[in-house]
Symmetry: C2
Subunit: 521 residues, 2 copies
């Protein structure tokens, strides 16, 4: 099992069909294969050897896909960087991974000033016109690589490291998740089976390509000879334009993107009917947003739940399980993360390691060929989560009688107030049911008596008005009194989001903790 195997297969079965469509650029699988081959030869000429790390800091583009495969075929280890990270974090990751090469595009090139702080980076490859003097131009490397006689391809083993995917950049020291060729290809197979991808699919890379949500499908699609299309970053209008123009059938989005598209005033002017499967994940999907989506776009929604450490897919909620009408139990499953996908064992266990009964809260643990090798050079952090081959996710969940899993909250996101466990996602769902609410985030803030109290930050839809009191009254009709926020902040500002579009509660928490702690009831 190795990443390059999928490309070799696509070249063989879909050689003359379009592989990538990126703006006005189009390549067939044969052409794409030749470009990655040439790129690999040039990287080798720059001194990259099997096992060396190649860091990538760029927006979505067909060249990102080329880098995944060029590194894969020659045995180099790709290090995709989150472009929302602060400069010190980027420097930390480059040095921690001992990356030898940094690939950067024009937009993100400012991060390379002061490159003497990059202790191990020997060469920088630049994507764009007017290449700075001390960098290599990406397209020129491809032209030059095509003239190099010796192939850079290596025969990879299952356990060879394919990529270091850093997580936790928004909290504490970033950790490098080590994914082997086997991890990535196994996940690709699980995803291809779960999503029934075929060579007729056209996929839009709109979530950042450094993130597990998007890489989860990347290798599966190539494997079946499907087509890739790209947006540099998410924007609701560009998203709708691309779906319409490229006849996109499948994509991965985060809930905030779905929300932005559904509330865009021009949604009805676009034809989005080519979409057959719109997978969402990476953070909780408010049920009201999902219901609106089903009404507007039809039964095309699928949920994927997972994490970088599991390459990433663990569970899936299929389109057929997204029912607006059905038994109460079926409709309730709109809030479920679905069930384990084939190839992965997923359990929800109590503190004694036993499977929980339906309704009881436990921790999600998972085992399979997709589970990471560990955290890069962090044996203790690895040992804390990988126990007897089981990945301990830290996420809390319940299961129902049919083994549907309901993620209650990330372990650290739960609020404990007056001894009661309150799951933020439940409170957020209650707020989203109010017609004026565009975005809602619920968090715990310190309280001298109760430990924490429930606080909500809410963004209203443009042109809509509601008072704080009215909103809290509304929440009280949806959830138990002890779960209703004790304080609320209405804001016109969009909520802070991570590179992939997750709402950054940590940032909110810091802001409210410092500025408003005296105002808490």
């Amino acid at each position: 099992m190795n990443i390059a195997q999928g490309l070799a297969h696509a070249k063989k079965v879909a050689g003359n069909r379009q592989a990538v469509a990126c703006g006005s650029v189009h390549y067939t699988w044969k052409e794409f294969d030749r470009r990655t081959d040439a790129l690999a030869r040039s990287l080798a000429a720059l001194g990259v050897k099997r096992g060396d790390r190649v860091a990538v800091l760029m927006l979505n583009c067909h060249r990102y896909l080329e880098l995944y495969y060029a590194c894969g075929r020659m045995g180099a280890v790709i290090v995709p960087l989150n472009y929302r990270l602060a400069r010190p974090e980027i420097v930390f990751i480059l040095n921690d991974s001992e990356s030898k090469i940094l690939v950067v595009d024009k937009t993100l090139a400012p991060h390379t000033t002061g490159r003497d702080t990059f202790a191990t980076v020997k060469e920088i490859i630049y994507i764009g016109d007017e290449t700075p003097e001390n960098m290599h131009n990406y397209e020129k490397l491809i032209i030059r690589g095509a003239q190099i006689v010796a192939s850079a391809d290596e025969t990879m083993d299952d356990e060879d490291l394919a990529g270091l995917f850093y997580t936790g950049g928004t909290t504490g020291r970033p950790k490098g998740v080590m994914l082997s060729h086997k991890n990535i290809v196994s996940n690709a197979i699980h995803v291809a089976v779960a999503a029934a991808y075929t060579e007729r699919d056209i996929y839009l890379h709109v979530a950042p390509m450094f993130h597990a949500g998007d890489t989860g499908s990347t290798f599966a699609l190539t494997m079946v000879g499907a087509r890739h299309t790209f947006l540099p970053m998410f924007n609701p209008v560009h998203f709708m334009q691309n779906v319409q123009e490229e006849q996109v059938t499948v994509t991965f989005v985060v809930p905030t993107m779905v929300n932005a598209v559904l509330h865009h005033p021009d949604i009805d002017t676009y034809n989005l009917s080519s979409l057959r499967r719109l997978t969402y994940g990476a953070s909780p999907m408010p049920t009201e947003v999902l219901k609106l989506g089903l009404q507007r776009l039809g039964q095309v929604f699928a949920q994927g739940y997972g994490m970088t450490e599991t390459a990433p897919l663990l569970t899936g909620l299929d389109p057929v399980d997204h029912l607006l009408e059905g038994t109460p139990e079926q409709v309730r499953r709109l809030a479920s993360a679905g069930r384990e996908v084939f190839g992965v064992e997923v359990r929800v266990v109590n503190a004694e390691g036993q499977d929980v009964e339906p309704g009881e809260v436990g921790e999600v643990i998972a085992r399979g060929p997709n589970v990471m090798q560990g955290y890069w050079r962090m044996p203790e952090a690895t040992a804390a989560v990988l126990i007897d081959g089981w990945m301990h996710t830290g996420d809390l969940a319940t299961v129902d009688e049919e083994n549907f899993i309901f993620i209650i909250d990330r372990a650290k996101d739960m609020i404990i107030s007056g001894g009661e466990n309150i799951y933020s996602v439940e409170v957020e769902n209650a707020l989203y049911t109010h017609p004026a609410v565009l975005e809602a985030a619920v968090l715990g803030i310190p309280h001298p008596v109760w430990g924490e109290s429930v606080h909500a930050v809410v963004v209203l839809k443009p042109g809509m008005e509601v008072t704080e009191d009215a909103l809290l009254q509304h929440a009280r009709t949806q959830i138990a009194g002890y779960k209703v926020p004790r304080s609320i902040e209405l804001t016109a500002e969009p909520l802070p989001k991570s590179g992939v579009g997750k709402i950054l509660k940590r940032d909110l928490r810091e802001k409210y903790w410092q500025g408003k702690s005296r105002n808490v009831n």
Copy 2:
């Protein structure tokens, strides 16, 4: 990777949905799981240990599926027997495999007379009422097994042997193909991806369940939680009834079955529209039959090409590549076996081991996790076909510019006449284009001058008439003169067929060689 993993997953994600429908018998996945668990416990109580062989001689039935999984979960090695074999061949296989248990159904029980020739069989399990005194009743074993406290489940390794599938029973000594758990699960994954099987599929086991053509899908379907339905043996009316009543979406058939259904006078009285994918394989499909099928049933045909030794799938021709109208090259692909499926590398090589150019004839070789461990206790036969990890199929083929593979003929089925290579399948296709032809088989018979001459055996459609001369004249309009049969035999008898429905050319060859050798021109 182990077979039981697929069942555990189906139980988890589809526990309350129907797993099997066999006549009036229906079980959910939870019930099916409990039955295989109880059966495994009873087998253990009968002395079956991990690695022991359990032979099965029965017609299609849900209990066959139960036996596959009961053996799989406890680590016993299943030995599915071809029920068309002669008694000496069955005795040979039982003794060669050293089977400890024989499972037999009522229909095939006569084969157990004289059981003292079964050197290693300790117990016989009987399926049916009125169990003979010296046998165990299958259903009673399940009842009894449910009361046994200790689980028989074992944790299997990738390389553990899962089954011995004997091939070549119609020619020379049967060889036991050793398929590991990894082999079978890998193939299941390849098939699930290639056929895009989902939990909404309903599969009809109509080709014999001892045969690779059917087992190719068996484990893939369970893996995704699809439903299994069964016919004891093929019969065109029962086939159409079952498709209609059970709303069958997918099945595997051999070309002679397709032919029989398409020519059945009652075909229009059945609703076969639930079929979304009708996979054919195991022997060459006459192009005229395929064209008729596409006209009658729509674009639902898919081809699978493979062999027992590769568990079995190697290449696939998808429904989208079955075009009645298109470029000449596209239409020509109706005669193609398709392209390598993901997970398997398939090449067509010349005598020097190099990939052939388009149009050039070479041998099909294949590599992947589905390739057998070898032939049971036949290291020399194994070494002759497994070379550097590549399975040498002995099949001759060409490829086109898009890597579609055209199987010209099984290596040993080619006719060499006057120094010219003549591929039987090409001559048969020419004969099938005549409207009166129901079945055609072309073979070489000895000739004093040319070595061999081309001989045809033809069955006409009921009520149709044509002279031998007229048929040969027709063939002459389709193929080169040197390929046209030199002799022809019209017969009203159906052609002899193997258990899986392949036309037995060996039998024809012997008959014509002995009886008619003086009549050859």
